[in-house]
Subunit: 329 residues, 2 copies
DNA sequence: CTGAAAGCGCTTACAG
DNA sequence: CTGAAAGCGCTTACAG
């Protein structure tokens, strides 16, 4: 059943049916009523594909993320989806795993389907977008990078000042009298790099010169946190504070410390990052950094919407994280 | 740039260009090569919308879930997305919040866009699909319900035996010598109902007749778990075991018990449900039930794919959860 | 206020 | 092996 069938049944032209469906003016009220009845009676659903054919848009936005199972990405993607849904766009979900080939694959279909816009969630995309093929695929499509900066003509970004975020944690520990502070760094993204720099800068600012040697690389997982603590203990390092780049790692750290009979926060203070549910479940509850994924998502959607609809003026922006005090400091 | 431009540039007809792009036979190798060069040179991307117009499919599947931020749904959606991506389908994400109006809205656009299939993730959809408008919208579209049963002609389901899941937890506690066992029930979905029945049935099977009075309703959150424990203590109930319908609730229970100086598992044993990251972070680590979201997702994708492509034979199936012993029992 | 016609960019028989 | 033509289901000027 298509617009021709409806037109025939109503005894009008397809132009008129189209006008009625799209609530355009210039239709005789009686004609409108008759057409509406027939539409209703047949429970008619117009084809969005045919519409897309002429408008060159399917009202769809692609969200590329590393892995939706990571709570931080889930929170970001959730808000992005809800907001775009409200605005009449469908959201297609892409779990790239941070891999080049997968990202290319997703972007290719996005292009073929004429996506209205793309949100890249995660600072991995900073690195990925340096690839020529990827930046080629991104051409002429509105792109917003949630937490990162792109050097592309039609791309904008919503940055989170992760450097500042970690510096807040360090400052907090130093205020509490800690001096022997270690940083657990995970992964190799731009964001991880910035966090680490935030640690070193803040430590040095406070006259703690050895900061660079107090960075440990570890997997961002409970096990990663546990292993880091074991390493510190094995090496007989002195430490009273551990700043982590992720809540999940911090949860592992707390677990390990308690298992070794080290009191948290009395003997060692710990901070996480993300203000996630993990931080709340952790016992004692983690002091953590709120990097505001919902706000990042909101700003990204606003930016992308204005790029797509070319309405308002737009510009990139930066979000400042905040410290959320728990019981581990 | 469209197929006509390519055809003109290559000096052939659009039919030939189409044949080359779709790797169909019957093209002179030389002609093929020339067309491919021009395709390559222009970095040509065929329009999936125009293709969809004739095939009546955009190779897209809609995944409706309650809230992607719930880890269990995130895990399910992740696997669904990855599997469909592998099979050449795009996945559109819909956070319905379990609400009727939102669900209708998503299904309506899914129909307009001629989605190839729909996966409903979560047992809320059992209830929602009883609504006439919803079942109407689901007509003539392949549908798979991940954890639920639908009475629709073209719908199939992948069930998780949640009744059995909770009975495993109860059986485990009883084996460990517990008799005063409470169940924390959350929400009002079919799945929550089944879990609760599993508790009562298993308790009664073991001769514990008061089971029905040992069910507490509480929010599925850390606070929900804490409140339930406070309630039990306030009412001076005797209890040595608490079975929870969700890991997150169990995490709250453990927190509360420890705060009251009650040892876990020595004085009170606790079990969760979902085998989530929450269970692992909880200290002591939760004994929980693995309800296998990845397997549910895999089966759902297989089912839906065969429904869409009408290839293999297909049928609904049921998955049996397993107990994962942690340190809280 | 209404309709005929062109066009969106492909695929797919069909004829040659 | 190749091309002309119809068709997918709409929207959008344009003419009346």
């Amino acid at each position: 059943m298509n617009i021709y069938d409806i037109a025939k049944e109503a005894g009008v032209s397809i132009s008129t049916v189209s006008r009625v469906m799209n609530h355009k003016g210039n239709v005789n009220p009686e004609t409108r009523k008759k057409v509406e009845e027939i539409l209703e009676k047949n429970n008619y659903t117009p084809s969005a594909i045919a519409r897309g054919m002429v408008s060159k848009s399917m009202k769809t936005v692609s969200v590329l993320t590393v892995d939706i199972r990571v709570p931080h990405y889930a929170r970001t993607a959730y808000t992005i989806e809800r907001e775009f849904s409200r605005r009449g766009y469908e959201v297609s979900l892409c779990n790239t795993g941070g891999e080049l080939e997968e990202t290319i694959k997703y972007l290719r279909t996005a292009r073929e389907k004429k996506t209205d816009g793309i949100v890249l969630v995660g600072s991995v995309f900073n690195t990925l977008c340096k690839n020529a093929e990827i930046s080629g695929l991104l051409q002429n499509i509105p792109v917003v990078l949630a937490n990162g900066k792109l050097e592309l003509p039609n791309s904008y970004s919503v940055l989170v000042d992760d450097r500042y975020g970690v510096s807040l944690a360090v400052e907090h520990l130093i205020q509490k009298g800690h001096r022997e502070i270690y940083y657990l760094r995970d992964m190799d993204t731009v964001s991880a790099q910035l966090k680490c720099e935030g640690f070193i800068a803040e430590m040095e600012k406070c006259g703690l010169k050895n900061a660079r040697q107090q960075v440990l690389e570890t997997a961002s997982s409970i096990e990663g946190g546990i292993k880091a603590v074991e390493q510190l203990i094995r090496r007989k390092q002195k430490f009273t504070g551990i700043v982590c780049g992720e809540d999940i790692t911090a949860a592992g750290v707390v677990k390990a410390l308690l298992h070794y009979g080290i009191k948290v926060p009395e003997e060692v203070a710990v901070t996480g990052y993300n203000n996630s549910e993990y931080a709340k479940i952790c016992e004692p509850q983690l002091t953590t950094i709120d990097n505001k994924p919902e706000l990042v998502a909101m700003m990204s959607v606003q930016l992308l919407t204005s790029l797509i609809e070319k309405t308002e003026v737009y510009s990139s922006c930066t979000i400042q994280p905040e410290l959320v005090e728990g019981q581990t400091t």
